[in-house]
Symmetry: C2
Subunit: 283 residues, 2 copies
């Protein structure tokens, strides 16, 4: 059973099915914490959670959960967020009186919605719930293709978002292994979180650890800790696995200068790509 946050048809479920295949046993959870707790306790075999969006940025809450719960990252996946106009089968554009969805999804489709003169926009808790709650033929929802399948709806128009560069990166999490890292080698990526003393150049020194060993960095982000004006958390993604000797040595070196360090996982690296309509099976 693989957990995700949201109701059936959520974009997280769509990511989950693209990763694990259409027949995966998916378990909807009320909030992110329920996914992390379920994975850490072994009640869920895995979880799929969003970690950053190309328009909205990193989802700090999920970094907090990665810190707090005994889970490890075992994979990542970039989902192209493709909004669709869903209706009951047979309904045409000119029949519509109302379009419902999460306010953010409605905002991301503003240009298209302006062409639907006269249709009232109605806010909803989430995109998939908006699809589930279509009660008549003059109502449409903006949601994922997975929501259309879940609720027996037709995709009247696909890809109605204003900005095609809308991607969400999801992480696949599993219960933290007792013996630490996976042995997988090859094109791997490792994510860590650490904090440094706030002395000038501390950040530069920590990156020197990677530069001196020619290790590629993919992501770096600092986050001030509320209530501790001079304390920061750094999120770093870099090339390689903790099973590789140079990476293990770099992390031992980072440990020396950190006040705190947690390895969040080593996992196969995927390259962002466009998702169209077909489904892919991976992993």
């Amino acid at each position: 059973m693989i957990g995700y946050q949201g109701v059936p048809g959520a974009y997280s479920e769509q990511a989950l099915r693209e990763i694990f295949g259409v027949h995966a046993k998916a378990k909807p959870c009320a909030d992110f914490e329920t996914v992390f707790k379920g994975v850490a306790s072994g009640k869920l075999t895995a979880g799929v959670v969003p970690i950053e969006n190309s328009l909205a940025g990193s989802i700090h809450q999920n970094y907090d959960h990665l810190l707090k719960h005994a889970v490890t990252i075992v994979g990542e996946y970039s989902l192209r967020v493709r909004h669709n106009l869903l209706v009951r089968p047979g309904v045409r554009l000119r029949d519509l009186r109302q379009v419902q969805s999460h306010p953010q999804a409605l905002a991301q489709c503003a240009k298209f919605l302006r062409t639907l003169k006269g249709a009232e926009l109605v806010p909803h808790f989430d995109t998939a719930g908006a699809a589930r709650d279509i009660v008549s033929d003059d109502v449409a929802a903006i949601a994922s293709a997975t929501a259309a399948e879940n609720y027996g709806l037709s995709i009247l128009k696909a890809g109605i978002e204003d900005d095609a560069s809308n991607f969400t990166r999801f992480l696949v999490i599993k219960k933290a292994a007792k013996r630490g890292a996976s042995n997988a080698k090859g094109d791997q990526k490792t994510s860590v979180v650490f904090s440094l003393r706030n002395i000038p150049g501390a950040m530069h020194k920590s990156l020197g650890i990677f530069a001196l060993r020619d290790i590629d960095l993919f992501k770096i982000e600092s986050r001030p800790l509320p209530g501790s004006p001079w304390q920061y958390l750094f999120y770093l993604d870099f090339a390689g696995s903790v099973a590789d000797q140079p990476i293990a040595r770099a992390l031992a070196h980072l440990q020396e200068i950190s006040t705190f360090l947690k390895v969040l996982g080593s996992y196969p690296r995927t390259v962002t790509r466009t998702y169209n309509s077909g489904r892919r099976r991976r992993g």
Copy 2:
């Protein structure tokens, strides 16, 4: 006239009034782009826009707008996001049948809302609009204290958010000056955006420019550019003003190794602090 995104009573308006005072002439705008365009063209004397939230992360769209429009950052302000339960005057908790707000605000007050047994939660486009649209005595909204004032409502309960470490950092923007930077000295901060060739250690070299000159870094964030798998934008905030010689030299040095560099502004640095109920006049 100072622009902000949202309807009257939005948290952005609250930030604006804490910065410029209660009597400031505030202009609500439909979207962020309208604020940036208005400031760049001179139609607005300034704008107040959110740039990052302590729970949700950086707002990448506004970094994009900072890049695209001829504006400069002249100030920053951290607003403690304090959700309040607003009702018509005289209404009591036990009268409530319905609570409406933006889905994110409702989610951020989940613990409190569970104590209101039987009250239905209703999603709305935005917090301030939910306050404006209270149509009867059995309806409450979750919104800012400024929304209560705007719409003649009472604050039945203040600070109902689950997580008190919810801060949003706002930037004050003005039309870009022809002669570049302000001359303000003292406790200043500078924000830049740049990109580097993707060679190992490029990031380390760019931070070396600051480390070698003992310049404190406050924020660093990398953002992959969609469609360009190896190209990143870096956002960097550091201590000092472009009017200071060491900073000017560091930026000339950064220019040498960047494929692109834009100085977003030098401005007085503020320290994050808790906002309670009173209003403060600044700037």
